[in-house]
């Protein structure tokens, strides 16, 4: 009887955690995960506006992608661009998507998530010690997974094992 009760309690907890859901939509397209996840975590498209993804996915940009050649076949390129723009900031549902979209001035197409005002505000000195971005465990601002253990599952909030403070202990 006690075991049953405990199980029920456990299920209830799991269900409420799930109901909370990821704050950011999980990137589930296998082609995008594979091709845009080879050198770094595949970033969720809602962190940049569609015009940024369009620019990044131009062939002449892809061969010099942040100092590296990330070229794709034309078929892959068009499919990935379509996915990214269809799930971009302001297009994907949810709070983070809307906040990113609102933060980027309309005439700008930043290629870095880490240069959007929304990202910078969430990672301002005081929230994050700027020196931590250079620490050997992190290496780069773009290494989201170093601090957000659930980043590839769309989990960036302050709870559970995704918690930055938990990680630092």
């Amino acid at each position: 009887m006690r075991a049953i009760l405990l199980t029920l309690l456990g299920l209830g907890w799991a269900a409420s955690a799930l109901a909370d859901g990821p704050r950011v939509q999980v990137l589930s397209d296998p082609l995008v995960v594979k091709e845009c996840g080879a050198c770094h975590m595949a970033f969720q498209p809602e962190f940049l506006p569609a015009r940024s993804w369009k620019k990044m996915m131009e062939p002449k940009e892809l061969v010099n992608h942040f100092g590296e050649d990330a070229r794709l076949t034309e078929a892959e390129r068009t499919k990935i661009e379509a996915y990214l723009t269809a799930h971009a900031a302001g297009v994907a549902p949810g709070k983070e998507s809307a906040k990113v979209a609102a933060s980027v001035p309309a005439h700008e197409s930043p290629l870095r998530i880490t240069e959007t005002p929304r990202w910078q505000q969430k990672h301002r000195p005081g929230e994050v010690n700027p020196a931590d971005f250079q620490s050997p465990k992190v290496k780069s601002k773009a290494n989201c997974l170093a601090c957000h253990k659930g980043a590839d599952q769309g989990l960036y909030d302050d709870e559970g094992e995704g918690n930055w403070r938990f990680w630092r202990r």
């Binding site: 080879a38 050198c39 770094h40 975590m41 061969v63 010099n64 100092g67 590296e68 050649d69 990330a70 070229r71 076949t73 992190v138 290496k139 780069s140 773009a142 290494n143 170093a146």
Partner: protein, 135 residues
């Protein structure tokens, strides 16, 4: 009757295992033989090692060498500039290396351009895979 069958089966299985260990992977062999047809000559593991370890100046400034990302030895885990780990390049450590022609062509295309500032030749690709297959 039944016994001979079992023996024959076991023998065939053992043979197939030995064959696999020797001949390597059929997809990788196919990739190498296609490259050989293009290159004309034989491949050299020694030249493959030189390509892997040399520093170049013709490519992008952050990536002077294959070892910039793949680590100093084919046996070690590498790391991209964004901090993601890369499985070792040696076939003995990562069994499915150089078995998918599209993957192989995609990454030679990108990485030779990033490091050397040009495409690699069939000779260079064959040398590289030959070296890594013996590691």
């Amino acid at each position: 009757m039944k016994k001979t069958f079992v023996i024959a089966f076991v023998a065939a299985f053992a043979l197939s295992l030995a064959g696999a260990a020797q001949a390597g992977n059929p997809s990788r062999d196919k990739i190498l033989s296609d490259l050989k047809a293009q290159a004309g000559g034989d491949f050299s593991a020694q030249r493959g090692q030189t390509l892997f370890q040399s520093k170049f100046t013709g490519g992008k400034e952050d990536t002077p060498s294959c070892t910039s990302c793949h680590g100093n030895s084919p046996q070690t885990i590498g790391q991209t500039r964004a901090g993601k780990s890369i499985d070792p390049m040696a076939v003995s450590r990562t069994a499915d290396r150089y078995t998918d022609i599209e993957k192989v062509e995609k990454w030679f295309g990108r990485n030779c351009n990033s490091v050397l500032g040009r495409a690699c030749t069939a000779q260079e690709k064959g040398d590289f895979i030959t070296f890594m297959s013996q590691q």
